[in-house]
């Protein structure tokens, strides 16, 4: 079946929905999502969305921008960071005006709390910048945006998996999707396409990410010759529930929670004396690993099973129930403890991709490091790389990114489609999609794909995690090559069309393998330590050689690496101390 639209938006998380709200005001827009929109992982975001409203104490967009740049270890593009910080303010008011139920100050204004790496006056001390709705900020954002889409009659195609993008040379003209309910293939013919497919956390065994976070958008584009940017930078959040990876928001530390080792010591005092537990995530995650390696984990055995404690007992039941109710609920459900009475056992969990589809500040996808653009092809949200997060994202800045750049992309799409034509469809526009499916169906053979998935997830967790070295990464790249070979042999038995979730699982695994390959290869390539990329063999940041963005192309089984310059027009790179 062929559908004709002006704009097609792939993904119905915060970025996709916000873009849809903008674009649909003037253009015929479809939102295609493999999940029901309200099941998107934006709904899992807990702690907050930052904006320098100054509702509690003095704050400025410039400070927010600086923190974002320093937090990103100077790989952040500085003009983009300033846009993020400046437009965050209106973005938050806009969400409130559309009904989002933020927590309030005694004066009835939007309440704000502290978050890692957010400071006043260029690093003096922690500042209250994160606007929040208890520990369900993402849920409220997703709900509010979906509600507004209903109000504005946005057209949705729910549970449609996009498995191909129509791209001719540099012009994008639609996508091809598989409908879960019927197994039919649909062509969406359009003037512009936005990818907002979210994260890739399912590359790792322990992650805060949903099953659906398999990086479909970046992987699809990668296979069509589009480069990806800064894929080596993957954030581990310091506090996931031990063994499960379920996130315990930084908001717990924002409200005063403290990390402790087996001696009960507040160990962050030794690592970041100014910001303590509220240092940026890369630093806190490394500090935890350091404690564990030196035998001060709670178990004390220095294995990867070891963990530390997040102590919130001194916050009192009332604060916890009022400001962190879901965290309390997770602790009760999954750990059988009450965080007001017992410390929470935590260890780092794979959380956020700083890298992704390279875009400019209007969401337009870049072809190369020289600034050449695709036409009609856009990306926003976690799957994109503007880059406002550089080598390490600050907490609460992703939700800002979704709203600010989702909105910008939506607006630019609306303008773009006015003055452009839909380039004609070819007869065989579903061929690539059909081939992808038939390559994986029609009689079970090859290895069990789940063995491949499990091995991949363990491999990345253990060898390209928080600390990295040449040998481990070489082995990993080699092994992923083999796993991709194994995967190419996988075929599944049943080819019944309707509700074939098995087929979709297999296609997603293919995406994960491609992204993991690029991820490990880019990490191996970058011979320095910066932000979330910490190499034991190159422990220092090296601005002379490596102050540049990585671009990577997948060419059959090989990876080509290129670079793109970093915008450092405002603040000169300095050593990063907190």
């Amino acid at each position: 079946m062929i559908h004709t639209f002006d704009a097609v938006i792939v993904g119905a998380g915060g970025a996709g929905l916000y873009a849809a709200l903008e674009a649909s005001q003037t253009t015929k827009t479809a939102v295609i999502s493999k999940l029901y929109p309200i099941r998107s992982h934006t709904g899992a975001a807990q702690g907050g969305i930052s904006a320098s409203l100054g509702n509690i104490e003095e704050d400025k967009p410039e400070w927010h921008a600086f923190d974002t740049v320093k937090g990103g270890d100077y790989l952040t593009d500085q003009d983009a960071a300033l846009i993020l910080a400046e437009e965050a303010v209106q973005a938050v008011y806009d969400l409130e005006n559309r009904g989002l139920p933020f927590n309030r100050t005694p004066e009835g204004r939007i309440d704000q709390r502290r978050f890692g790496g957010h400071t006043r006056n260029f690093g003096e001390s922690a500042v209250r910048r994160a606007c929040y709705a208890a520990d369900r900020t993402g849920h409220m954002i997703l709900q509010t945006l979906y509600q507004q889409c209903i109000k504005n009659n946005v057209t949705f195609f729910d549970e449609f998996h996009v498995i191909d993008v129509l791209l001719k040379e540099q012009r994008c003209f639609g996508v091809v999707a598989l409908e879960l309910r019927t197994g039919e293939i649909h062509v969406f013919h359009s003037k512009a396409v936005l990818f907002a497919t979210g994260g890739t956390g399912r590359m790792f065994r322990i992650t805060s990410n949903a099953y659906a976070n398999t990086g479909d958008g970046p992987a699809l584009l990668l296979n069509k010759g589009v480069p990806l940017e800064d894929m080596e930078f993957y954030q581990f959040h310091p506090t996931g529930i031990k063994g499960m990876g379920i996130l315990i928001t930084e908001g717990v530390r924002g409200e005063g929670g403290i990390l402790r080792n087996r001696d009960g010591e507040r160990f962050m005092e030794r690592y970041t004396p100014t910001l303590l537990d509220l240092a940026p995530r890369d630093i806190v995650a490394r500090s935890i690993v350091q404690e564990i390696r030196e035998g001060r984990g709670i178990r004390g055995d220095a294995t990867i099973e070891d963990f530390v404690h997040l102590d919130a007992t001194h916050l009192g039941k009332d604060t916890i129930e009022a400001k962190l109710p879901d965290i309390a609920d997770f602790c009760r459900t999954y750990l059988g403890i009450d965080p007001a009475e017992n410390p929470i056992p935590v260890q780092p969990t794979a959380h956020y991709a700083m890298g992704g589809i390279p875009t400019d500040i209007y969401g337009r996808v870049l072809k190369n490091g020289e600034g050449h653009l695709y036409e009609g092809l856009y990306a926003a949200g976690e799957c994109a790389c503007v880059s406002v997060h550089g080598a390490n994202r600050l907490g609460t800045n992703s939700l800002v990114d979704l709203i600010v750049f989702g909105r910008r992309a939506g607006q630019n799409i609306a303008q773009f489609v006015q003055g452009s034509d839909r380039i004609p469809l070819k007869k065989d526009s579903t061929r690539y999609a059909q081939e992808r499916i038939s390559a994986k169906t029609g009689g079970q053979s090859g290895p069990n794909p789940e063995d491949i998935r499990t091995e991949l997830q363990n491999l990345l967790m253990e060898k390209v995690g928080i600390y990295r070295n040449e040998q481990d990464m070489l082995e990993t790249v080699e092994r992923i090559r083999e796993l991709r070979q194994d995967y190419s042999q996988v075929k599944i038995a049943h080819n019944t069309s309707a509700f074939n979730t098995h087929l979709l699982d297999i296609l997603e695994l293919g995406n994960l393998l491609d992204l993991a390959y690029i991820f490990a290869f880019s990490a191996l390539n970058r011979k320095e330590s910066r932000g979330a990329h910490s190499r034991e063999d190159y422990p220092k940041r090296n601005d002379d050689e490596w102050l540049k963005h990585t671009l990577s192309w997948l060419e059959e089984d090989n990876i080509k690496i290129g670079y793109k310059s970093v915008d450092i027009s405002r603040w000169k790179p300095k050593p990063r101390k907190y």
Binding site: R39, A44, P101, R136, D329, T333, E450
Partner: protein, 247 residues
């Protein structure tokens, strides 16, 4: 430990009727029921159909009936559903919605009802301040309803939807309406009142409390329904009108 799951299977494309299938799984008692279902799908029978995403109780994908009670598979630990007599853990799809495949149900009707109550913020007044001012108490007033993840557990458990009046709007849509009605910033009460005040609207609720019992977000659903009923009665009375509870 080893457990046995007894899962209802049904593929309308090929099965005449639903049947139960047993699966033995090796699992840790502290694991989630969703982990056990994943094991079945990954290593025993990949054709098993169920939805999932967040895996920690916030996206609403995997509500199902476990040993007769609506639960989220990802928010249910194995040790909490093991039957003392050693019988298998019985897993069925949600009731009251048509089965698509195995544990997947067609939620169209549920979402239609949701959309019916204008589940969005209504306030046409221009904004005077940067944000609309709201006191902490006013914010607290509608907090409970904001937690809903539209999982449909309540819609499945409701004895009214199950039999007495299947056209009943259902608990979740009323929760959604209440969330806005009780938001001091919202002005859509009149519009929404008429969408709730009809015989299949809010009135079929007979306070069975089943929804409240199963809600994985611990929302006091029945209480919110009653509060909304009172608001509508007050509104009608103040205008000298009658409520529309009879066909």
């Amino acid at each position: 430990m080893q457990i046995t799951l007894e899962i209802q299977r049904y593929d309308p494309q090929k099965d005449k009727e639903a049947f139960f299938e047993k699966y033995d799984v090796e699992i840790n008692p502290n694991d989630r029921l969703l982990d056990a279902l994943m094991k079945v799908k990954q290593y025993i029978d990949p054709t098993l159909g169920f939805r999932k995403s967040c895996a920690h109780g916030v996206c609403g994908s995997d509500a199902m009936v476990v040993n007769g009670v609506e639960r989220l598979a990802c928010k249910t630990l194995i040790k909490d559903v093991i039957n003392k007599d050693g019988s298998p853990i019985k897993i069925e799809p949600l009731q009251t919605l048509p089965i698509q495949k195995d544990l997947m149900v067609d939620q169209s009707r549920f979402f239609e009802h949701y959309r019916q109550v204008k589940p969005y913020f209504i306030n046409k007044e221009p904004i005077k301040e940067k944000e609309r001012i709201q006191s902490q108490e006013e914010r607290e007033d509608f907090d409970d309803g904001t937690k809903c993840i539209l999982c449909a557990a309540c819609y499945s458990a409701c004895p009214v939807v199950r039999g007495i009046n299947p056209s009943f709007l259902g608990p979740a849509s009323i929760v959604q309406a209440e969330r806005f009605i009780d938001d001091s910033r919202d002005e859509g009460f009149e519009e929404r009142a008429s969408l709730l005040d009809f015989p299949d609207g809010i009135w079929p609720c007979q306070n069975f409390y089943q929804c409240t019992r199963v809600c994985p977000r611990h929302i006091k659903i029945t209480q919110l329904i009653n509060k909304t009923k009172e608001n509508i009665v007050k509104y009608r009375t103040s205008r000298g009108e009658k409520i529309h509870d009879l066909p």
